[in-house]
């Protein structure tokens, strides 16, 4: 943009609408999810049975533990389990 005319400015302001609030909130809560994540990975390392349940059905295994299977948490947990 060579100069800042007001119509062009209005278009640029409109070009970045907010992301859906739920997505933003989930990303903001990542550090909290990570707190639970590290504990789960540690347990999986120490308890083969628990690890087997996580690998078989991650969401169900988390719910059985009373943990909400947030997408950010399940995604990160799958990656960590696969990396081991």
């Amino acid at each position: 943009m060579s100069g800042y005319d007001e119509i062009g400015l209005a278009e640029l302001l409109a070009a970045l609408p907010p992301a859906p609030q739920g997505w933003v909130q989930a990303a903001q809560e990542l550090p909290l999810a990570r707190l639970g994540l590290d504990d789960l990975v540690r347990r999986a390392e120490e308890d083969a049975d628990f690890r087997g349940r996580l690998v078989a059905d991650l969401e169900a295994a988390l719910q059985a533990e009373g943990i909400e299977p947030e997408p950010a948490l399940t995604r990160a947990l799958r990656r960590r389990l696969a990396a081991e």
């Binding site: 943009m1 100069g3 800042y4 005319d5 007001e6 400015l9 209005a10 640029l12 302001l13 409109a14 070009a15 970045l16 609408p17 907010p18 992301a19 859906p20 997505w23 933003v24 989930a26 990303a27 903001q28 990542l30 550090p31 909290l32 990570r34 997408p71 950010a72 995604r75 990160a76």
Partner: protein, 183 residues
């Protein structure tokens, strides 16, 4: 926290400051979202996956970033890469060609970079201008909705938008003049 430079937020995130992370996500989320849906035209489901993956990886790899002030560009690159990965995975299921970069991607990205610069300038504008311009243009709210939210008569919203837009233009022109003088 809202006034902190982005590079400072990155530094604070590395020390475990969750509020800084929340602000960093708030500040960059529109850019990441826009790349996924406007440049790569991902479905809502795929865009959400990419969006969360971007922040998951960013959180994990924040310590490897060499220049804290480059965080937004880094997130942009990461988003592009994950969008292409997503399109590649879809293409494997229904092959439709090799070129996964949508037509006009560079042009749209250029526009988003400009839009980001304008939004960053808006963040530095007086609070009432930031609020009214963001609500009207980016959130597409009506005069009535803005008036109710900001406790202003709807009849004054149009003139406030016009005044604030002029101030934002002057601010951006001033920045360009200063940048030219420095060069």
């Amino acid at each position: 926290m809202k006034d902190a430079p982005t590079a400072e937020l990155v530094h604070r995130c590395r020390t475990g400051d969750n509020q800084a992370w929340a602000e960093l996500v708030e500040r960059t989320s529109r850019y990441v979202y826009a790349i996924a849906v406007q440049v790569y035209r991902l479905s809502s489901h795929d865009a959400e996956d990419v969006f969360q993956e971007v922040y998951t990886r960013a959180y994990e790899h924040l310590g490897t970033l060499r220049d804290d002030s480059a965080i937004t560009a880094w997130l942009g690159q990461l988003t592009r890469r994950l969008c292409v990965d997503r399109l590649r995975a879809s293409a494997r299921e229904s092959p439709a060609g090799d070129d996964l970069e949508p037509a006009g991607a560079d042009e749209t990205l250029g526009k988003l970079d400009e839009a980001l610069a304008v939004h960053e300038a808006l963040r530095a504008a007086p609070g009432h201008c930031h609020e009214v311009l963001d609500r009207f243009f980016a959130r597409d709210e009506s005069y009535a909705t803005i008036g109710a939210a900001l406790d202003l008569p709807p009849g004054t919203i149009a003139s406030r938008i016009s005044r604030c837009l002029s101030r934002l233009r002057e601010f951006l022109e001033g920045k360009k003049t200063t940048a030219r003088a420095v060069k």
